[in-house]
Structure formats: C-alpha cells, structure tokens
C-alpha cells in the first residue's frame, strides 16, 4: 500500500502496464522528459526509454491517428492530450476512425488504445483548459468513456482501459489530481469498465455525479444530513457504457434524482441520465430529476469561474428543492 494521489495512481497504473507488456507505449506533448504538464507520466521515460515513452510533434490529430495505426498493428498505445480543449483537433480521428475501425473492419482489427487527458474547471486556467467534453465522446458510438474520482478507481480503471480491446477515452479530473490522497495497493488490480459505484446509500434522493463533482457532492450531502435528508450518492465512473441498472435501482428506491456535473447542461450526460431515470423508474419518480450542471456558456476565466463552478451549496439548494417538490 502507498498513499497515492490521482496523479500518482495513474502513473502507477501506467508503470505496471509498461512493465508487464512491451506492446504498451505512451506518447503525446511533453510526456517524455517533462513527464507531462501535470507530471502524470513522470519518470516513465527514464525507466522505459524513449522508444516507449516519448514526446510527439504538437498535433493532436496526428497523435490520435497514429495511435490508431499502432493499435491495429500490435501495440497498445496510450496517448495524452494536454488539455480537454485540445481534444477537438483530434475529434475527426476519434469520431471517424478510432471509434469505427473495429466495426468498419468487421472485427478484423480491434483498437486497444487509450486517449487520456485532464479535464474540467476550478483551477483558474486560461480558455480551453477547463472544458468537460464527456457528452461529445459518449454520443459517438464505438468508444468507452471513463472518469475516475479517486486514486483507487483511477488506478483500477486505467488498468482496465489499457487492457480493453475497445478504444477508451480516459478523462482525468484535473481539479482533484492531487487534492485527494488515498491508500492504494501497489499490486495490480482492475475495476471493470461500465459499472457505477454506490458511494453512499440513502433513501430520499439519488445524486449521480462523477470526477471532481463527487467531492463537492459529498460536502452537499453533509449539509443535507444536517437538514435531515438522506442522500444516495452514485459515482458514475463510466459515462459509456452507462450503468443503467444501478441508476434505475437507486431511483426506483429514492424516487428522486439530481445530476451533478461540470459540463454545459444542455444535450449532456445529465440529459441522458434523466432519460434513463424516466425509462427505468418512471412510476417511482416523485419529483422531476434535476441537473446541477454548468451553464451553456464558455467556462469563464478565473474571475468568472466562481459563477460557473458548482458549489456544495448549490447542490444542497437543489437537493432541498427536489425533496420538497
């Protein structure tokens, strides 16, 4: 066991897979000597050499497109895109090829690759450094989209992502990269993709969240507890495949649902979760499911971010409203 941050836990997962499988390679902008701008790949080039962990030219489409080429020819590439907002130059490769090569080739080629990047707001960053694009990737058929919220999950899910024969978008909540520390085993373990986790059981309302919003939700749940409200908290962990069963069960029990996520609320994962709640638990719904999500605005720079970012208080406000509906 070691005390790990999310950064350290992912680094550890990468290390384990690099060590046990020579077909694993890692590249992207500044992932080599620099170890990535958030140091997620720190030390790996030194340990595994420049052929296995290396800096690429500054071109996201190229990074992702070449990784697909590697994936169909025997390697298991893991590529880093430097920030959420810089996934878009790679969007065509992801939407047109990474997600489709398996289907296009009728399974002749599998696509065992991971595209990982830090995402989300709350770090006083420049534009394009605070986006939460999970809905965009989840809407594209053929991908798996994963978001951990703890060091333990980050490690276990990353191991699964690397071992998946399907391409995985692995989004890392940068705001809590180092904020959460946890004892995590140094041994290899994996957490299956596609399974949500009930973090806390409750009876009055189901809160579905993921990434950095788990911690904020937990704070809100404390406030709710004081107000005598019992909240069930689900960490979605996998955006696609989405764990319809766990959501359905919980909402059938509590009759109420709130989604907490940083992304723009319209046409979002929140919308999908409301659809699922309707499909799975319609007769049990006692209040309209609500979204506590980002507005349909560009994520503001530091001074405006306080208006955009979701506070525990705002979550609590919605909990109260939903319970009192």
């Amino acid at each position: 066991m070691s005390v790990m941050t999310i950064v350290k836990a992912i680094n550890n997962a990468l290390d384990i897979k690099l060590n046990e499988d020579r077909s694993v390679v890692i590249y992207g902008e500044d992932v080599g000597v620099e170890g990535g701008v958030f140091r997620v790949t720190e030390g790996l080039q030194k340990k595994y050499g420049v052929e296995r962990v290396f800096d690429s030219p500054l071109a996201e489409s190229g990074i992702v497109g070449t990784a697909l080429g590697m994936a169909v020819s025997g390697l298991r590439p893991i590529v880093e895109l430097q920030f959420d907002g810089f996934t878009y130059p790679a969007f065509n490769q992801i939407a047109s090829n990474v997600s489709r090569m398996q289907n296009r080739s009728r399974g002749k080629y599998t696509v065992p690759m991971v595209i990982r990047f830090p995402y989300g707001g709350g770090v006083n960053a420049l534009e394009h450094h605070s986006d939460s694009p999970e809905a965009l990737f989840a809407h594209l058929p053929g991908l798996k989209v994963v978001i951990p919220s703890t060091p333990h999950d980050a490690k276990g899910l990353m191991i699964s992502a690397i071992e998946s024969e399907d391409p995985v978008i692995f989004m890392e909540p940068k705001r809590i990269y180092r904020a959460i520390k946890q004892e995590v085993t140094d041994d290899k373990f994996s957490i299956p993709l596609g399974k949500a986790k009930v973090i806390q059981e409750g009876t009055d309302v189901t809160l579905v969240a993921f990434g950095a919003m788990i911690r904020e939700s937990q704070k809100a749940i404390e406030m709710a507890k004081e107000a005598g409200i019992s909240v069930e908290l689900i960490d979605l962990r996998s955006i696609y495949p989405i764990d319809r069963q766990t959501i359905g069960e919980s909402v059938r029990k509590t009759g109420r649902m709130i989604i907490v996520a940083e992304a723009h609320e319209s046409f979002s994962v929140g919308s999908e979760l409301i659809a699922i709640a309707n499909e799975e638990a319609f007769l049990h719904l006692e209040a309209p499911p609500r979204r506590v999500m980002g507005y349909d605005t560009v994520v503001p720079l530091a001074q405006g971010e306080k208006y955009y970012i979701i506070s525990p208080e705002r979550i609590f406000y919605e909990i109260e409203k939903t319970v009192n509906f």
Binding site: A59, G62, L75, N97, R104, S105, G194
Partner: protein
C-alpha cells in the same frame, strides 16, 4: 538540402526543379535506358494483364451501377499503372493503407472483386478485406488514413520488423491538415512508409491549381524533411522504379518517401458525377491518348513482347468478374447482428438492450401481419 544517401533518381529528378521521372515516352519508347527497371518479359506481360483486369473490372462495375444493380462506384480509369506498379512492389509482409481509388493495388494484395462489389453493394463485409492481412479498409474520410499508416510504421520500427507501409491519397487530399501532419510525424519518426499522392488533376470538380500554389505536389515533402519525387503516373516503368527504390529505401531503415504520381482521372469522380460540367472534352481526349495501358501496349509492341489477345482476355475477365459480382449479389442477407456485433469486442449491456428492443419491434411487426 538533398541527403547524400538518397537514391540517385531523387537527386536527378528533384521536384524543386519541377522535374518528373519518366522511363518511357508517350509512344512507348524508352527514354531513360539506364533507369529501366529489372523486369523480365513475363513480369511485364503480367503487369499489363493486371492493369487490364483492373480496367475491365472498372468498366463492369460502372455498368452494374448503371443497371441499378449496385450503388455509387469510384472508378480507377487511367490510374492503373500506379496501382499495379505499387501492387507488384508490396510484399505479403508489407502493409497497405488505401484511400479509395487504388482498386488494382488492393487486388494485388489479395482482395477479390467479390469483396469490392460487396462493399459497393452496401455491405461492410466487403470493405473489411478480412481475408487479406495487413490491409486496412477503404478510407473515405480524406487524409485520416495517412496517420494510420504512420502509426503502423512506428509499430514496425518498434518491433524491428522488416516491413514497409504503402499508403495513398489524392491531389485534393494534400490540402487536409492530416496530410501535412502525417508526413511530419513520419519524418520525425523516420518510419518505413511510402506515401503516394495520386495527382489525377481533380478533386471531384476542383482542379489541382485551386488546391495549392506549390509548383508540384512532390515538393511538399521538403516541408517535412523527407525525400519526394514526381513520377509520370501513366508510365508503368517509372512507377515501378519509383516504388522499387522507395521500398528498398524504406526497408533499409532510411525512412519515409513521398511519391507524386502525375496522372489523370479518365472517368468520372464516382458514378454519380458528370465531369463534362467542369472539364473540357479536349483535355479528356488528350489524356486518353496517353492512357497508361496504351503506353505500355505501345512499349510492348515495340519490344515485340506483345502476345495478348485483348478481346479474348477481356471476355475471360468479364466472365470471371461477372461471376464474382453475381456471387456478391447472392451473398447471404445482411442480418441485424451485422449492425450491432462489431461495435465492441464485448457488447455493453445498454447496447444489448437496444438490440433487444429492436428485435421486439420486429416480432411485433411480424405478428401484425
């Protein structure tokens, strides 16, 4: 500027001087004896036959489409020398990463016309080329395939294999960002790839002069520090030589190369296109005179190695191709499974639910009747 260890032709036909590699002239006369590739007569005859097969298959496909028996087709007419010269230089161990207009090369690699037809009959099983190893499916989204080729190049180098990657793009495709990015990655990584630009003068209706101001397309290699050469794409021998040279270069670990194959799309862009809207008949006629098959035939006749009865061969090919088409037409019906089963290696629960819901609808529909 030009590397020392570069094969001579890359120096002698420097694209910066807008020179073009040719081995035979339009009449089939050898104009560069010292460059004539090592090819015995049988191989030349075989090359012609392959080109002729592609030509015949193309014509058949166009006619099936006209008969309403097949969806849109992308003809290869006029670009056969490139395809077969490439095909003859691609070994089983080498990778082929196609765009969408190199049918002859696919056939050389082992793809059958049945598969091609099946693809254009709207069945993914045709386009998967499942029985041919190291061959990616047809790439429709222009430019993206070059990155895949480059990534495969990296795998080869990383795994220390003695393999090369052959990949293709059109003149129009050179404008896409992915074209430049891929050449740049390949240059930095020094991977064994032969990039071919089939410059057939048009991107649908848009002439190459509206695509770029560069003097030619081979010269774009300079921006990425890789060798480039412009080759007469209607000259089978020039193309053969270029591929032979590039392939040796790549296999000896020296890195990627860019070949501009200067040619002309004799047919329509696809069967839904009408070139008379955007290009002159005279232009088409001029290029028809230097049809790569004609030029090779002229050469062969001059050298007295022509022993082909075209009529007869054509009939033979037609029969064979028609059998393949009919077999593709008769291919077992497309199943619901076919749209669901290849999306994921292990099908997610939620996805199974969708498939199940659809099956329920179908049985409801069945019961209604």
């Amino acid at each position: 500027m030009i590397q020392d260890d570069l094969p001579a032709i890359f120096r002698d036909f420097n694209p910066l001087e807008d020179r073009m590699l040719r081995v035979i002239d339009d009449e089939g006369n050898v104009i560069n004896k010292e460059l004539f590739p090592e090819l015995d007569d049988d191989s030349i005859i075989d090359a012609y036959k392959q080109m002729y097969y592609e030509r015949t298959a193309d014509e058949m496909a166009i006619s099936y489409q006209r008969q309403g028996r097949m969806y849109t087709f992308t003809p290869n007419l006029g670009q056969e020398a490139i395809h077969i010269a490439a095909g003859m230089n691609i070994r089983k161990e080498d990778w082929l990463v196609p765009a969408f207009r190199e049918m002859g090369t696919l056939l050389s690699k082992g793809v059958t016309m049945k598969e091609m037809f099946l693809f254009y009959l709207g069945n993914e099983h045709g386009g998967s080329f499942k029985n041919v190893s190291k061959t990616l499916p047809i790439a429709i989204s222009i430019g993206t395939q070059l990155h895949h080729a480059t990534g495969i190049g990296y795998s080869i180098k990383y795994q220390k294999k003695n393999e090369a990657v052959f990949t293709f793009i059109g003149d129009g495709g050179t404008s896409e960002g992915d074209f430049s990015e891929a050449l740049n990655f390949a240059g930095v990584w020094q991977v064994p790839i032969i990039f071919t630009i089939q410059n057939n003068q048009y991107a649908i209706s848009v002439p190459v002069k509206s695509q770029t101001k560069s003097v030619n397309l081979a010269v774009k290699s300079v921006a990425f520090g890789i060798p480039g050469i412009k080759v007469d794409g209607n000259d089978f021998f020039a193309m053969y030589l270029a591929y032979k040279t590039a392939s040796e270069y790549a296999l000896s670990g020296k890195g990627p190369m860019l070949i501009e194959a200067y040619t002309y799309r004799l047919g329509a862009h696809t069967t839904s296109d009408d070139p008379s809207k955007y290009r002159k008949k005279e232009e088409e006629e001029e290029w028809a005179l230097v049809d790569p098959l004609l030029r090779l035939e002229r050469y062969m006749k001059k050298m007295d190695i022509w022993n082909i009865d075209k009529e007869k061969l054509r009939d033979e090919y037609k029969q064979e191709i028609d059998a393949q088409f009919v077999s593709a037409e008769k291919e077992k019906a497309y199943k619901i499974d076919d749209i669901f089963d290849y999306m994921y290696t292990d099908m997610p629960e939620d996805f199974k639910r969708q498939k199940g819901a659809y099956e329920q609808f179908l049985s409801w529909k069945e019961n209604r009747k």
